[in-house]
Amino acid sequence: MPDPISLIPAWLEATHDREVPTGLDVDEALRRAVLLRDQLRAGQIQAGEFEITEKSIETLHAFAALLTEQIKIDAETALADGRLIFDFVEAIAWTGTPFGGLGEFLARIAFLCWRSARLAGEPAEEQRWLRMYESVGKRAASLEAAEAILATPIEQRGDRVFEPYLEEVEQLFSIRILLWRLCETEPARVRDEANFFYRHLRERRSPLDVSGEQAHYLGEFALIAGGTCRLPSRREEARRWFELAEASFTPAHNASAHVARLAYQRLALALEERDLDLVFQRGPELSDRLMRFGLQEDALKCRFLEAHALKETDRLSDAKSVFQEIRDVAGAQGLDRLCGMASENLFQIHAFLGEVEEAMAEARKATVVLRALSNRVALAKLQAGVGYLLRGQGRMQEATAAFREAQRQFSAIQMTADVAATHLVLADLLLEAGQLAQAEWEVRAALPVIAELKLVPEGIAALALLRDSLRRRQIDRQALRDLHEHFGDKK
């Protein structure tokens, strides 16, 4: 059978002088959809009784249209109907791609259930249907179209025919999913994209069709933009985005759960700014709050911040316990990303404690998970961690090679602060090896970035001392180490 796309000219030739049938009459399809809905509610129909035909599939599409309207009237009933039709259709023997395929339809229903759950104020269900959409909709047209949109450079999105189609909310939903997925692998790109979609939505002349949905998506894109600004240390920008996210989420339906997600991002920012007291004060309460919303993954992420703060304050044994708990719970729940990151941190703690074998075993576990997830940020950090471990073992040449590789990875994802921090570590290693000129070059490469990012208000004295020593061409090693300390990396 030829590729259907290659048949388009033949199709147009064959149909130019005749009316092609378009399936069921709209009223008839709606009548059948209502009948199916009533049968499902009454438990009077089984999946095995449902034959895949042109008419039956159109009835399912009409059902989805009914559900879309029901959401506007009564989101809870729509969610209940959505669950029924999802389970029913999932059990139908609908293989291959006739009539658009099973995945396409299930993705639509998962999206409508997500929307119903958001309006009905059920954040755990909202999360569940979001994951379901990701799982069943891998090849759904909206996700494919979202990928195509993101593959088009922003400046080339102006053509009328090809401009991103954003009237239909499922498209925005897919874009949001893809952007969250790319946050840690391509933060700079995601920041630009989130900014693009935020502005695009804000400048719309007509609101989205479901109450509060525009505010929700504005909040979501602002949250994504803020989250990605947090990574490469653009903290003021992150704060501004978080304020915009709060202003957008607040009037939207089911705001409290999303405001709690925002609180998590703010707490993560506090951790990056080393405001550890705030993390200890607010972390447990926020984690509890997220659990009460049924947002287990977010609650675990919050515990993650606490574990980080414990690590930063040298309470390594406590940190190890919390990271182990996170790794085990996340592993059991299939939260691979969290599981991998917990392993990465356990590697670091084992390394700090001089538990070399355990550290390398944990690094191997983490690498497998992080590679599978294409988590370039975590992989780069892990690589730097291996550098520290080797340095601690006195294996200086191998450590230098590991740090150079980590620096290459940080640079590829534009994590400029980490690139600068790695320059400082390399300088220290080169001083150790007596390579003064090369060490000086490393320090000179790091200083402009540090000054530009204003990373270390508490390290200004160290920065001044280091600059002064550089002028005298005799690097102050203590100042170098003090300055590096303020990046938050343990040596």
Binding site: W11, I57, A145
Partner: protein, 105 residues
């Protein structure tokens, strides 16, 4: 042009044409006749504009979505103008060229 058997055209109808018509009808609220026109227009655009790059299926879905949105905008604008000016003969507006869109094309 690829020569197509009746069987291949049937498969095309089932796997591409109908799902696109349903998308236009049930997701975008177009009448069946308008949905058919939009899908055929998308196929015409595909012949002229579709490049070999990217995913052709998602390209078609995207173009159908865009054409449906344009169609709805036109319908909305006609209804707004009719309400504003008390126009009864909306059919005349149906066939009239859309100067705003032509200008921006």
């Amino acid at each position: 042009m690829v020569l197509a058997s009746a069987e291949a055209l049937d498969a095309f109808y089932r796997d591409l044409f109908l799902p696109l018509v349903w998308r236009a009808t049930w997701r975008h609220g177009l009448s069946k006749d308008d949905a058919r026109d939009v899908v055929q227009e998308a196929f015409l655009l595909a012949v002229v504009k579709m490049s070999g790059q990217g995913n052709p299926r998602s390209w078609l879905f995207q173009v159908v979505d865009n054409l449906c949105a344009n169609h709805q905008r036109k319908t909305f604008r006609r209804a707004r103008l009719a309400a504003k000016w008390g126009l009864e003969g909306l059919a005349q507006l149906d066939s009239a060229p859309n100067l705003e869109e032509e200008a921006s094309d």
